[in-house]
């Protein structure tokens, strides 16, 4: 498929490449994850049972409470952590958590990012660019 770049309103963290894990659902470290096993654990979550470790998570909105602000740092310290978060909408907690942990994150797109990025696509992320972006490098989807 042709290369596609989607620009974000804001970004932080480092440039990286990874495989996307995509769902039209929210993200909260406390509510949604089994942080010891590195899987989505809330039964109602669209990624329930799937591993998030090393993935570029492409999700709809930051949800839930304030715990994520500490938890990203704790998850990163153990290496049981996603590679990056790409969200349509953030809340302050996700920004605070990413800032504290030195975590890579993009948010705010002109399109629904969960519809624009195919699941399992290989993506480049550059939050350091003047216009932070996510680029689809390879995808099995047409």
């Amino acid at each position: 498929m042709s290369e596609r770049i989607l620009y974000a309103a804001a970004g932080m963290g480092q440039k990286l490449q990874g495989d996307a894990l995509v769902a039209k659902d929210g993200f909260s470290a406390r509510y949604d994850l089994d942080r010891l096993r590195g899987i989505f654990s809330r039964p109602q979550h669209k990624l329930a049972g799937q591993s998030y470790v090393g993935k570029v998570l492409v999700l709809d909105a930051a949800k839930g409470g304030v715990a994520t602000a500490w938890m990203l740092y704790e998850m990163k310290s153990r290496g049981i952590v996603p590679a990056a978060l790409v969200l349509n909408a953030v809340n302050p907690i996700m920004v605070q958590g990413a800032a504290f942990a030195g975590f890579t994150m993009l948010s705010g797109f002109a399109v629904d990012i969960t519809a624009a990025i195919p699941n399992d696509a290989t993506v480049d992320i550059d939050p350091t660019a003047e216009r932070p972006f996510i680029r689809i490098v390879a995808s099995s989807s047409p």
Binding site: R30, V66, W70
Partner: protein
């Protein structure tokens, strides 16, 4: 972000490395979220249970606490959210030694920073409610939404690192709900049913939260037949914040910024409109029943119970005996009053347990479930119902009365 001379000095490290770290963290956050400058805050409230912090977070706090005394003190009143244990009950809960040790280390570090260990998520009921228009840096979603909506204060969700930063610098980036323009309603919810029980208020909050969908939405509620009590507002707001990540709501004619709907709805503004009725509440509550006819444990928590709720639990347990674990979780401030007034003794005489200074879901809920063999859990808190599924529980949302009936019937739920 525009910085004052004092803020530039903080950034340059002239007030020490703790303040320097704090202002740099705040600048990162503020820049991401479009803050033009900082706003002074009068209080900070830190969520920092050790299940969230982990070993890495506690070590980070200990490094901060190891700085010279003059360089590590918070400069505004800074208080804490519930801890991860009640030390007096840790063994009964089958919490492990390492959890308790981690809590002790975290508390020692916070105390070294000059933080007041209030250990409560109902500080607006028990410590010092904010005044309308006050800018705060609160770190519990239930605290933020109540303070913003019911008190008319101004706070964003401030996670632990950011609330600590605010404590150290005495300010926070000016974005989100510190700004007038962010406090207008973005959706309108007309309710044709006024909830009666706390679990129903939570259910209404959960429904509105799902409709709102994200942090930047501000629902305005119309149609309520009466003014909710503080505890009803507490359960409504906590669930709204939990299900929707929402930090501010208005209730027409009730909350201070919405005495008239037009106060929060600019004339000619077009916002999404929704209607919620009794059937919607029933469906929300029933969705959690999911064939559960027997529970292993009953929990009243999230938010911590007020003195009035503690009295209600004691009254409902009068002359009865629970035969599965029942926990009434409250703040250290309420616990002292409950002890003095005999409420704790009445609850414990019936076989229940009163826990203080913790919150059930912030206390290694998964490990407690595994150690105690708990799966099905009854509660009247919609917030905890939303959270505990991810921790491996099967939660059911019922009234306080039905929860206690179940606790006194070996967990069996009356149909």
């Amino acid at each position: 972000m525009r910085l004052t001379e004092e803020e530039k000095a903080m950034r340059a490290g002239e007030l020490g490395p703790a303040v320097q770290w704090a202002i740099n963290h705040q600048i990162k956050v503020g820049s991401y979220l479009g803050a033009a400058d900082f706003v002074p805050v009068v209080q900070a409230h830190i969520m920092a249970d050790t299940e969230s912090l982990g070993e890495a977070g506690v070590q980070w706090l200990e490094r901060m606490a190891g700085l010279p005394a003059k360089q590590r003190q918070v400069r505004i009143p800074t208080i804490t959210d519930p801890r991860g244990t009640d030390f007096a009950a840790a063994a009964r809960l089958k919490q492990q030694r390492w959890m308790v040790d981690l809590e002790r280390r975290a508390i020692a570090a916070f105390e070294a920073l000059g933080i007041l260990m209030t250990d409560t998520c109902i500080n607006y009921q028990t410590i010092m409610p904010p005044v309308r228009g006050e800018h705060c840096a609160y770190g519990d979603t239930g605290v933020v939404i109540y303070s913003n909506s019911v008190c008319g204060a101004r706070s964003n969700f401030e996670g632990g690192p950011s609330a600590l930063s605010a404590g150290l610098t005495g300010r926070t980036p000016r974005y989100g709900y510190h700004l007038d323009e962010r406090r207008k309603a973005t959706l309108l919810v007309e309710t044709t049913y006024t909830p009666r029980e706390l679990n129903e208020w939570g259910a209404l909050g959960g429904i509105v939260g799902r409709l709102a969908g994200d942090y930047w939405q501000v629902p305005a509620i119309t149609g309520l037949a009466r003014i909710p009590t503080s505890d009803e507002m507490k359960h409504f707001g906590a669930a709204l914040a939990s299900y929707g990540s929402v930090a501010l709501f208005h209730m027409e004619g009730i909350t201070p910024e919405a005495q008239r709907l037009s106060d929060v709805m600019p004339s000619g503004a077009s916002v999404p409109k929704h209607k919620v009725g009794e059937n919607d509440l029933r469906a929300f509550i029933d969705a959690y029943s999911n064939g559960i006819d027997k529970v292993d444990v009953v929990v009243f928590s999230a938010p911590q119970l007020s003195l009035v709720e503690m009295r209600d639990v004691a009254e409902l347990l009068n002359g009865r005996t629970v035969n599965i674990p029942l926990f009434a979780v409250t703040s250290p401030q309420v616990k002292a009053d409950a002890d003095r007034m005999g409420l704790t003794a009445r609850i414990e005489k019936a076989g229940g347990s009163v826990l203080s200074g913790m919150c059930f879901y912030q206390s290694y809920a998964r490990e407690m479930a595994e150690a105690n063999g708990w799966s099905a859990l009854a509660t009247n808190s919609a917030k905890i119902t939303n959270i505990l599924g991810g921790y491996g529980y099967r939660p059911i949302l019922m009234s306080m009365e039905r929860c206690i009936d179940a606790a006194c019937a070996s967990g069996k739920i009356a149909s």
